[in-house]
Symmetry: C2
Subunit: 507 residues, 2 copies
């Protein structure tokens, strides 16, 4: 059916049809149509909303994401018809029935995800079936390759390219801000694409944004890395592994953490940036994604296996995941802490040791340090000031102020100290409760919001000593965090009477 | 956040927010918000689309299905906030991880489906997880009860109430048009809610609509049944088992046919109309939903078991499902065939025998016929003209013309005969190909469209004899059916040379 385009500024992968047109095309709300601009040959698929009045019969309302593909002007005549059922649905059904994805199946599915041919419900079915019935290593490899091939890639002429990844779940994990400049300062290339927080209080991209812009197309990421040895950018702004971003979107509401998909997701991004050497940080412990060392070792073997299939050398480090890294949660607080270490601070030990260990593994893999000498070599680079110098170059090339100092970066003006209700040892600091508080205080959107933890687990405190401080940029957010914090009990001091009314513990 | 309502005539369970409002509420496209009209106390949940221009900041565009719940006027101030993550997502996640639904879990999920709290993706996850990991009989019972309790029910004072259901998959299965009037003519009550075709060429509701309106609220269905003994209506127009309609919507794109959900779906509708005695027709054979008699018997036991749990007596009949019932597919053709039998025609045997057998089971269950005497009693009612008389009453009370005759109902004016390409026996009539042809010809939307099959499987034909005729209301649809039919090969005559170019077989 020939319809005339009306552009509608709605952020949704849909089109709006008059109900009479929908009826004559035999499409119902939620069905899929194919739109063809015969002048340009461009086509797009979209899901149908209907209306009896917002547009006239003969007109198709094209929402913004659809027109990103179609690129038509208002008034353009387009051909619209009910879309064929995509073959990828058969593949998804096969997985539901316990079957295996072939390479071609996987390519069909990933391409249809990227092209928005599959609906949210259908992508959820894919994610759910893959989660329940699992993916074997062949299927994970297919998924990784298809994810890479449906996006952009970096092509460096100099090698080796180093990359790192931390499996999430540990708050305050600002180590990339130290590792990337150390690696780059050693002469290696590290084009680090990072994520923003989904459920956390700040992803690496959120942190780096305190110092410099982080949104660049893939080619610029490559050019910046070639010039100064490294970059720390937001992967979501590139078109690298776009399928992965969508898959994660649909895993999120159900908190699906499908092992095979997670491995493919991580490794696709490494493969797409052309990494030769990859270090994976696997935090282990209660309240992290990996509960036991045994499970962590199994995951490590899978990363290494997939790396071999793709021609990347992978080494993994199991790290202690039950305690936050350093003392801070939230963009400004974390960046200040990391910058201070680059500037020469010798604390916090947990942050420095973890960063040097992981950077050291990469240096050994690249032959920049002998076996067992990597952490020391990394420490030398850090202490020499070369890592700070390199970080300033990275900040500058990304458009930030290279002369920024740790002391320039201040937490929010609104603050509240949470004090020990009595003498004793801190026996529990609940990571997820701390993250919830930081988010309520405004993190990561309000850069000044977050937590500064004074007494980590095992510290002896006296009644009235501050255990942690909540910072916020806005008073009402601080109040909201305090209010919810009363019920969350993020901290327990040995001997605390658990039966008292919660808010008494806060004063 | 306080926003002012602007009503938008879009058929989608969403609201439109200005992107700046969405940002300050921390909701993203696709997130869920809670809308509260503080004046009436009414609340609704909806998914968020965003725009930079279609509405002003401070305004919320409320789509039509959301306002069906909220019932606010343009300009009403409402409170809008990010919605809590519903508990039902935890239950769905549990099923993904191999757990069992409790009764309360099931109630949460079904209520959130009915109230549109769950997104399409989340409902798909529920359906997918239930399909892959299965539901045991307790879970099926919970689902059935929750489906009934979240919708309307009929409450008859006279009993017993009879109901029937045919598991789908057999084309031309117009038996309800005979069974319902036979049962009602025997003095029993049969409030028959039926479905429209989803993938077929005509559901019972599509057929009945040729004779009379089929959309009534539940209370009217009850009143009509009380007056004349029966009604044949479209279940989708009532608010009986509304969760089921939605679940089916999300199963459809993936062709998910989850056994437990199917049983719950069928039985919820029977339970909700207050049925005491239920006859289930289970067509068995290749190309039906149930491939073997063994599988059919297992399914029958499950229906009977669930019936016992709910206090309904259930009997099942396995029927031959590999061949169409009667000779016709498509609304007018099928209705004409069924009416002719009510008027006294003694053909087609397959239609008459199947209808009498199933009606007979119900008559025996209700004590209207002795054991083994039901089919004969049904035949007596049919031959006496009482079934025709009853059907006319049903047609009249639903607002149709009670004097309608079989000969009044004519197929479409456009027709095409498909003839035998050579002498031989018809060794294959592919049901799903026949249904596809009927749909291409316009069925069930164009009432005159469909197929009349002259030579069913096993019939001896001579070269040039018509095997079936395609009817359509519109020439272009007929041509489309003919064109596709050339490639579908819905019919094989013994000795046909399969290697010849397909379209030669048609002339």
């Amino acid at each position: 059916m020939k319809l005339t385009v009306k552009l509608l500024d709605i952020e949704n992968r849909g089109v709006l049809l008059h109900c009479t047109d929908a009826r004559s095309m035999r499409v119902r709300d939620g069905d899929r149509v194919q739109i063809v601009d015969e002048a340009t040959g461009k086509t797009a698929q979209a899901h149908v909303d209907t209306t009896g009045s917002l547009i006239e019969p003969g007109v198709i309302g094209v929402y913004r994401p659809v027109n990103a593909t179609l690129a038509v002007d208002e008034g353009t005549p387009v051909e619209v018809r009910g879309a064929e059922r995509p073959a990828s649905l058969e593949h998804i059904k096969k997985k539901m029935d316990g079957g295996r994805f072939t390479k071609d199946d996987t390519v069909d599915i990933v391409r249809d995800i990227v092209d928005d041919v599959l609906s949210p419900g259908e992508i959820t079915a894919y994610v759910t079936a893959s989660y329940i019935n699992g993916l074997d290593m062949d299927e994970v490899e297919y998924l990784t390759r298809a994810t890479v091939e449906t996006g952009e890639r970096l092509h460096f002429t100099r090698h080796p390219i180093v990359d790192k990844h931390s499996i999430g779940g540990v708050p305050g994990n600002k180590i990339t801000l130290l590792i990337a400049p150390i690696i780059a300062a050693s002469g290696l290339l590290i084009p680090k694409t990072s994520s923003r927080a989904i459920t956390g209080a700040g992803g690496t991209a959120d942190l780096m944004e305190v110092l410099a812009p982080v949104s660049f197309p893939a080619l610029e990421v490559q050019q910046m890395t070639e010039k100064v040895g490294g970059a720390i950018v937001w992967g979501g702004a590139t078109n690298i592994a776009p399928a992965d971003d969508k898959i994660i979107t649909y895993e999120y509401p159900l908190r699906i953490d499908a092992r095979g998909q997670m491995i493919a997701s991580v490794m696709a991004k490494k493969f797409a940036v052309g990494a030769d050497l990859v270090v994976i940080d696997i935090p282990v412990g209660r309240n992290t994604k990996i509960a036991t060392a045994q499970e962590g070792r199994k995951l490590a073997r899978e990363f290494i296996d997939l790396g071999e299939r793709l021609g990347m050398r992978v080494e993994c480090a199991l790290s202690y995941g039950e305690s936050l890294v350093g003392h801070t949660i939230g963009p400004n607080l974390e960046v200040r802490e990391a910058l201070a270490v680059l500037e020469g601070a010798t604390e916090p030990n947990s942050l420095i040791q973890k960063s040097l260990s992981l950077a050291g593994i990469a240096l050994e893999m690249a032959g920049k340090a002998g076996p067992g000498q990597g952490a020391r070599a990394a420490a030398d680079i850090l202490r020499s000031g070369k890592a700070l110098e390199k970080m300033r170059q990275i900040i500058e090339i990304q458009g930030g102020d290279p002369n920024v100092k740790a002391e320039d970066i201040v937490p929010g003006e609104c603050r509240f100290d949470v004090n020990a209700p009595q003498d004793g040892y801190v026996i529990e600091l609940n990571n997820s409760a701390l993250v919830t508080l930081a988010r309520l205080a405004g993190s990561p959107y309000d850069h000044g919001a977050g937590l500064l933890v004074h007494a980590k687990k095992g510290t002896r405190v006296r009644k009235g000593d501050p255990i942690f401080t909540i910072y916020a940029d806005r008073e009402w957010r601080l109040e909201r965090a305090i209010e919810v914090g009363r019920t969350l009990m993020p901290v327990l001091v040995e001997g605390m009477v658990l039966e008292r009314i919660p808010h008494e513990r806060w004063v």
